[in-house]
């Protein structure tokens, strides 16, 4: 097996032109594990490892791909959907079990090597380590398949969650602030996208008007779409959409940010199969085609990003993606931006100008008809708010909408292109999918 960490795959600069592999890479399968609130630390059938194996098997089954055909594995091996939690997100050490659960791998961490050993992949030649989160992984896999680094690639995104309050402990229990935290933590910023985005959101309301509570229309719609997503946390746990009163009366976190503006951490795993458009023709399922991938990682110019900075960043994300896909805002049928905190999604909607929404217009857009059966089926996936913090609903819904298999969520407008992301204004990536390769 060859691991290629030197592989140059990112499309993270302005002005790169149309992606050279546009339409030549396809997604041919996906699979989801059950989505639990937490793993109990005991039941090995519901560990992150067991759930990841399940997700991989479902994705391969849907695509009609055998283990021997898989020659690439791109698996995020960080704690709880990314390293942003620092030491506060780590649960080890713990008592371990018999192989393959004799280390943290398989329990709360998954990497390609553990999967190769446990599932018996024999022909994997591309299995990079240090893989980023799914917002970028899908780009890495797309480029790897397009460049011929591998031809059938599993993309796996596990998100672990265990008992206890989320990200309490570790650095967050420390009386001292070290490194970059010395500039934020003494004043109470524990770090994360809640803080990064709440100030630009406050400035947004001051600049364009509106109230924080206007987000309720978007949040409720995410919950409704989540109930239409059979594998998601809300649907499988019968979490009915909240009322306006529920939202307004809910617990403040970083006031005005409320608990219902935040996604629900879960224990789950998802897998996708990427392959060449040529191979996809012979596979079991209907392919959808990758029209572009793009990434961004913008440096903060000072302590806290402000509205101007966030709007500039999202403008640049949109320009990169549209240029690389050879498409414009009017060409995008399905739009599934990230919603881990409800306060950031308007920046994407306006930056990408989906359905003509310009700066300052998102809240009034939310108050209109954004249901999946209406003319503006915004975030038809239900995102994280409607499905739990899997960070994968945006991708799966986009595939299903293009295939026409979204069931009760199937939009009634045209569904030939889909833009999806796990992305924050400052970092992450976007993926443009098409029903047709061109």
């Amino acid at each position: 097996m060859t691991s290629s960490n030197d592989f140059q795959w990112r499309r993270d600069r302005d002005g790169l032109g149309v992606w050279e592999h546009r339409g030549n890479v396809a997604v041919v399968g996906y699979g989801h594990s059950p989505v639990d609130r937490r793993w109990d630390g005991v039941d090995l059938d519901s560990s992150l490892g067991a759930y990841t194996i399940m997700a991989c098997e479902k994705a391969m089954e849907q695509a009609g791909v055998t283990i021997d055909q898989v020659d690439g594995i791109v698996c995020c091996d960080s704690h709880i959907a990314g390293g942003s939690g620092g030491t506060a997100s780590q649960w080890a050490p713990r008592p371990y079990f018999d192989p393959p659960y004799d280390s943290e791998y398989g329990l709360t961490l998954i990497n390609a090597q553990w999967l190769i050993n446990t599932m018996g992949f024999k022909n994997v030649k591309f299995a990079p380590t240090g893989v980023p989160t799914i917002g970028e992984m899908v780009g890495m896999a797309s480029q790897a398949v397009g460049d011929g680094v591998c031809s059938t690639c599993l993309v796996i995104y596990p998100t672990g969650n265990m008992e206890g309050r989320y990200r309490r402990g570790g650095e967050n229990a420390d009386d001292y602030a070290r490194g970059a935290r010395q500039w934020t933590v003494p004043w109470g910023n524990h770090g994360g996208n809640d803080f990064i985005n709440i100030f630009p959101h406050r400035q947004y309301l001051m600049k364009y008007g509106g109230e924080h509570e206007d987000l309720v229309h978007f949040v409720r719609n995410q919950h409704k779409n989540g109930m239409l997503t059979p594998w998601g946390y809300n649907a499988t746990h019968n979490i009915q959409p909240i009322s306006v009163e529920d939202y307004i009366g809910s617990r403040p976190i970083l006031n005005p940010l409320r608990i219902w503006d935040c996604d629900r951490p879960v224990n789950a795993s998802a897998a996708y199969v990427f392959t060449t458009a040529e191979r996809a023709q012979d596979m079991k399922s209907q392919p959808v085609y990758v029209l572009n991938h793009s990434q961004h990682n913008f440096a903060f110019r000072t302590t806290q990003p402000d509205l101007d900075e966030v709007e500039m960043w999202t403008d640049r994300q949109a320009a990169r993606m549209y240029e690389g896909a050879g498409l414009g805002p009017a060409d995008v049928d399905i739009f599934n931006p990230y919603d881990g905190y409800s306060i950031m999604t308007q920046f994407f909607l306006e930056g990408f100008q989906w359905h003509g929404v310009k700066r300052g217009e998102a809240l009034s857009f939310y108050a209109g008809d954004i249901t999946v059966k209406g003319p503006h089926p915004f975030s038809s996936s239900g995102g994280n708010l409607g499905n739990g913090r899997t960070r994968t609903a945006m991708y799966t819904d986009s595939i299903e909408q293009l295939r026409g298999t979204a069931g009760d969520r199937q939009v009634t407008v045209r569904a030939e292109t889909a833009l999806c992301a796990f992305s924050t204004p400052s970092s992450g990536g976007w993926l443009m999918l098409g029903k047709y390769p061109s």
Partner: protein, 136 residues
């Protein structure tokens, strides 16, 4: 409850030394003449090879926005909840901003747009941090 204590490192030691002398310094880029805070090895705007130098600033600013932390994750600050977290822009360069708990300003009663001036608060014996107070 005291605030969390910053731990100076090689890059930040001059900054915290100045704060402990009740002075506010930030970096100034020799190449593009922009102020920079938090400090970095290079200028984050122009990445000039000419480097950055420390410069004392007047310590006057304005409140751009604020939130109230009601359910944060930092153990040491939990007894303080709810407390203000304001975004303060520096008058000498409003693209430079700082956090502040606005000592003396009750939670939720933050005068956005108001002028503030730097003050210093002891968080451990011999260790101050920079804070900002509304100018009456």
């Amino acid at each position: 409850m005291p605030k969390i204590i910053p731990v100076p490192d090689e890059l930040s030691q001059p900054f915290w030394d100045a704060v402990n002398e009740r002075r506010l310094i930030v970096q100034n880029c020799i190449g593009c003449d922009r102020l920079q805070y938090p400090p970095g090895v290079d200028c984050r705007v122009c990445e000039s090879a000419t480097g950055v130098e420390w410069k004392e600033v007047e310590g006057k600013g304005h409140i751009a926005a604020y939130i109230v932390i009601e359910d944060g994750r930092l153990n040491r600050r939990m007894p303080d909840q709810p407390y203000n977290l304001a975004l303060v822009t520096l008058d000498e360069d409003p693209t430079v901003n700082f956090y502040s708990n606005l000592p003396g300003t009750p939670p939720y009663e933050v005068p956005v747009g108001a002028a503030v001036e730097v003050t210093f608060e002891e968080v451990a014996p011999g260790q101050l941090i920079h804070e900002w107070k509304v100018v009456e």
